[in-house]
């Protein structure tokens, strides 16, 4: 179960079927990103794919009949119409057509009627309909998926086909569980379940051997764990996303001072970049040491090897040069990224921030924490976004505390012109179960208490990474075989298996985070087979956007006491 591999196998197959010769790849907006996540452009060049074209943007009328055209598009109405027009007056010699998802037969018929010059060679469905980020992490690139706390129709359709794509590309027919009480999760589970039954000919995989439980598709809701998306991150990939924002494996560095031109935008791909893939989940301390060692030996060697005297030296140099160039490019790139991260950490006092965040997320100590938040949010060195994050965490954590000081904090933020309206929005966004379980300070949960006690006895390894996301706890429960039927029921009447499933696909409505990807990665290293996906991958900034759209149109129920801050205009 490796989603990058799954997409690559599909792409390689398409190229292989087109055979030798010069090729062009015709894509739409989404499939362009899908392919770029799995293969670099230079990879494609080596496979004789020399040109790339978008079917949905201004196209030239140039005819290049000696080219073979590989078409890889989503089966949307618009795309079919565009492709029909292309086939009526074909620009290329032959066409190999691949749809990224299930396409109705009527559309095939319409296309066949347009192929008057007999140039179509293949028509297939290949379910590469999602963006692979890490080997066990995928995204659907839907920035916001809810409105008025329910699905936006378009987002729901895209999500259903995305999940169907993941299942078919990994040849999995799962049982489906969803988070009880979440309407979006239930809707999605139902839709996926219906599609699987409707397309039962596609999902006719060999059933698991006797006694082996079927794979599990677990549908969750971001609203149950809003904290994880707000915390300062300390593993490499998560940090880069939090502080610099990763978009389709690309990081925009044009705002960084003193960056050379060729590094204005860098590609961070676990597939193409060894250093990155080895250090995805390293924490910042480790990675700083790694890169420092690398540079030290680099400099030492450079001094030693300055003289090239014999021809043998020269030859050796020439022969190792391309490799050297590639390697030094990579190191250079990461050096720039890491130094920018480290600059931001000290500029924004993120260590201090993180300590308080983690403390609030893991330990209840109201009055001391309130004092610290109060102090920090007024200080200039704490950025206004970070101040807002602190208040958000505090407001969720102590929503029902008798001496809740949210209003006071919001007034302080308002004085700094912060986006105060986000706090009531967030309180409307979080789910009932987050309220009851995550932030409950009054009711005492016996299991959690003992667990916390044990944790307390062991001592905290790292102050900045003590928080554990809800997903990790949940997965551990499932893998231990504990019953989760109450909170995460099956969508259909399934016979519950005694043994825990060995393969799990988790999907989070409202976006996953890199912290959760790390949790999944840790479990996978222990030998489990888990894949995580989300409508998107959030950092705190994009998560707040999601919260605003999701609560648009929803009435204020939980935050009446914060009425003064309901509107954005008064900021």
């Amino acid at each position: 179960m490796n989603v990058i591999k799954a997409i690559q196998l599909y792409i390689d197959k398409m190229i292989e079927e087109a055979g030798p010769g010069m090729k062009i790849l015709l894509m739409d907006r989404e499939t362009t990103s899908i392919i770029s996540m799995a293969h670099s452009q230079t990879d494609m060049l080596q496979k004789e794919v020399y040109l790339f074209e978008r079917i949905d943007s201004g196209r030239s009328n140039e005819r290049l009949k000696y080219l073979k055209c590989i078409v890889f598009i989503r089966p949307t109405r618009d795309n079919i119409i565009r492709l029909s027009n292309e086939l009526k007056s074909p620009k290329y010699g032959s066409y190999f057509i691949y749809f990224s998802n299930i396409i109705p037969r009527t559309e095939i018929k319409a296309l066949a009627e347009c192929d008057e010059s007999e140039s179509v060679r293949e028509v297939k469905e290949m379910y590469a309909d999602y963006l692979c980020i890490n080997s066990s992490l995928f995204s659907l690139n839907i920035p916001t998926c809810l409105h008025s706390l329910n699905w936006q129709q378009e987002a729901l359709e895209r999500t259903v086909s995305g999940i169907i794509g993941v299942l078919l590309s990994l040849k999995i027919r799962p049982t489906i569980r969803y988070k009880n009480g979440s309407q979006p999760a239930q809707n999605l589970a139902k839709r996926v379940f219906d599609t699987i039954n409707k397309e039962s000919s596609l999902f006719s995989f060999k059933p698991p051997e006797n006694g082996v439980p079927p794979p599990l598709l677990l549908i969750l809701d971001r609203r149950d764990d809003p904290i994880t998306a707000l915390l300062t991150q300390w593993t490499y990939q998560a940090m880069v996303h939090q502080l610099l924002t990763i978009k389709n494996n690309r990081v925009d560095l044009s705002n960084v001072v003193g960056v050379p031109n060729e590094l204005k935008e860098v590609v961070l791909s676990a597939e193409q970049d060894d250093f990155y893939s080895k250090n995805l989940f390293s924490n910042f301390g480790e990675i700083a040491v790694t890169i420092r060692d690398l540079i030290e030996s680099f400099q030492k060697r450079a001094k030693e090897q300055k003289k090239i005297e014999t021809i043998a030296d020269m030859k050796n140099f020439v022969e190792s040069y391309p490799q050297f160039k590639k390697m030094s490019g990579t190191v250079n790139k990461h050096l720039v990224v890491i130094s920018e991260l480290s600059m931001q950490i000290s500029k924004k006092s993120l260590l201090e921030m993180s300590e308080l965040e983690q403390d609030m997320a893991c330990r209840a100590d109201h009055s001391a924490q309130l004092q610290r938040v109060k102090k920090l949010i007024t200080e200039e060195r704490i950025s206004i976004e970070d101040a807002l994050r602190l208040i958000l965490i505090y407001a969720m954590r102590y929503e029902r505390h008798a001496n809740c000081g949210t209003v006071g904090l919001l007034n302080a933020l308002k004085a700094r012109n912060g986006r105060t309206h986000l706090v009531p929005k967030m309180l409307e966004y979080i789910s009932q179960s987050a309220r009851n379980e995550l932030f409950n300070t009054t009711k005492i949960d016996a299991v959690k208490l003992t667990r916390n006690l044990i944790k307390g006895l062991k001592g905290v390894e790292n102050v900045y990474t003590q928080h554990v996301c809800v997903l990790k706890d949940l997965l551990e429960e499932i893998l231990k075989g504990r019953s989760i039927d109450q909170q995460y029921p099956f969508i259909s009447s399934e016979v519950p298996y005694r043994r825990p499933p060995t393969e799990i696909i988790v999907f989070i409505i409202g976006g996953a985070t890199y912290e959760e990807a790390f949790a999944v990665h840790q479990l996978n290293q222990m030998g489990y087979r888990i894949i995580l996906g989300g409508t998107t991958i959030h950092n705190s900034e994009s998560f707040l956007e999601e919260v605003i759209t999701a609560t648009n149109g929803a009435p204020f129920k939980h935050s009446r006491s914060l009425q003064a801050f309901h509107n954005a205009s008064n900021a």
Binding site: P20, G93, I108, A112, Q305, K315, F324
Partner: protein
């Protein structure tokens, strides 16, 4: 070959062909051009290597860093292992629609094809014995294709406007249907000829037919439906027959890429075998193959440059295509051809081989001693000497040197010896033709034969 003093510098300036020492880079190149001008490509590769080396060194005075990177990066491998050990993942589900697609498409195409064929036959008739006088042309046309009675048609079928004095009826010369002037299309006689006869060359000004065709209005009026069918046919013909120069160049390029792939593998094999101290391949083999690969790299470079130089409009897709191909070729050369491991130095190889021989001899010595001890223990010494062992040593020595010692015995008429000589001949031929796979098998045969020969001579004694 080597003088003893400062031999370490001279190593690098040995002419690979005649092995003479040339002290300096310039004089070596000079020597090369003077004495071995027939090996042009080798000279070229030689030069290229120096050129690149010089360039790189001038630009950047750090070297051999990649090894440092490798070594510093490698320890990390264990510390952040790959996620779950990858099972051989199969490709995901694929659903094929081509059967249904062709089931819809092909009958339609056949219908079009018969219709188009009909049109082409008519067109052919219209063009044969075409009179010159316009009035006669009309008669000729009407004779061949029955025109629809204009009275039956009140409106133009394609634009639905009514006919009257200024919007007159016209007939499609191929199917005979009615349309207005605005909806008419025209096919030039020249084009018509190329449709009915794909091998038809556009007429030259001095050709005999030109007299008839020169009239500017001389073209065939036809409806859009017929035009569409005919154009479709013409395009299909064109796309099948047209092979622009870039296409041919590209085919050559790919062929060389394909041909060089086994050479690259072979080269690495030879180098490893040399370092292992095997005598199957010689240093000269490695050098020759390296030269061949270098030559291919040059051709690749040249071809891709030619592709880049093809004429095309600025900013066009064609231009982008040419650039991409060139880029891919450069990358291929850089990654596969410039990174070849260097040829080991002759001394080094000799040392390795010497070491093997000594080890071998030591082993034999040890065995002999053990045997001797055993003999002494059982008081059998003096019964038989050990001629065999000394002989083994000898043959092992010569085996490293391609068994040259046995060449002296060529005039005996032993069939085995003859066989051995034949195989030696084959090896020489294979080496000349750079068929290195063959050399390996032949060498194997040779050593088996020689072993057999040795056993037999042993028995005779």
């Amino acid at each position: 070959m080597f003088s003893d003093d400062n031999s370490d510098i001279m190593e690098g300036f040995i002419c690979p062909i005649c092995k003479s020492d040339q002290k300096k880079l310039e004089s070596l190149l000079q020597h090369f051009e003077d004495k071995h001008s027939e090996e042009k490509d080798l000279v070229q590769t030689f030069r290229d290597v120096f050129k690149i080396a010089k360039k790189k060194i001038l630009n950047l005075d750090e070297s051999q860093l990649s090894k440092t990177f490798d070594s510093t990066l490698k320890p990390n491998k264990s510390f952040n292992q790959l996620e779950f050990v990858e099972d051989n993942q199969d490709i995901g589900l694929v659903k094929d629609h081509i059967e249904y697609f062709t089931a819809i498409r092909n009958p339609r195409l056949e219908r079009f094809a018969t219709e188009t064929n009909k049109l082409i036959i008519r067109l052919n008739k219209l063009l044969t014995n075409r009179p010159q006088d316009p009035q006669q042309i009309k008669l000729h046309e009407q004779n061949l294709v029955p025109w629809i009675d204009g009275k039956l048609v009140k409106l133009c079928p394609s634009c639905a406007k009514s006919f009257f004095l200024t919007r007159r009826q016209h007939h499609c010369r191929i199917c005979g249907s009615v349309m207005c002037n605005e909806c008419s299309n025209f096919l030039s006689i020249d084009d018509s000829f190329s449709i009915i006869n794909p091998s038809y060359e556009k007429s030259k000004p001095n050709s005999s037919e030109e007299i008839i065709l020169k009239e500017p209005e001389d073209s065939i009026r036809l409806c859009s439906h017929c035009l569409h069918l005919l154009e479709n046919r013409k395009q299909m013909q064109d796309s099948r027959s047209v092979r622009p120069p870039i296409y041919n160049l590209y085919e050559k390029l790919e062929k060389i890429k394909k041909d060089v792939a086994p050479d690259l593998i072979m080269y690495e094999k030879i180098i490893t075998s040399l370092y292992d101290g095997n005598s199957v391949y010689t240093l000269a083999d490695a050098g020759a193959l390296r030269g061949k690969i270098g030559h291919s790299a040059e051709i690749l470079d040249d071809l891709s440059k030619k592709i880049l130089g093809q004429k095309c409009a600025k900013g066009s897709r064609e231009e982008a295509l040419q650039k991409s191909i060139r880029l891919a070729a450069i990358k291929f050369i850089k990654e596969n051809m410039l990174t070849l491991p260097p040829i080991p130095l002759e001394e080094e190889i000799k040392k390795i081989q010497q070491k093997r021989i000594t080890e071998f001899n030591q082993k034999i010595e040890r065995d002999r001693r053990l045997a001797q001890e055993a003999f002494e223990r059982y008081d059998l010494s003096g019964n038989a000497g050990f001629p065999a062992t000394s002989r083994t040593t000898g043959s092992a020595m010569t085996s490293v040197d391609n068994w040259s010692g046995y060449q002296q015995q060529t005039n005996t008429c032993d069939p085995l010896v003859e066989q051995i000589n034949i195989i030696k001949g084959y090896i020489k031929q294979a080496r000349d033709a750079m068929r290195f796979e063959e050399i390996a098998t032949l060498e194997q045969n040779l050593s088996e034969l020689q072993h057999e020969y040795w056993l037999r001579s042993q028995q005779k004694e």
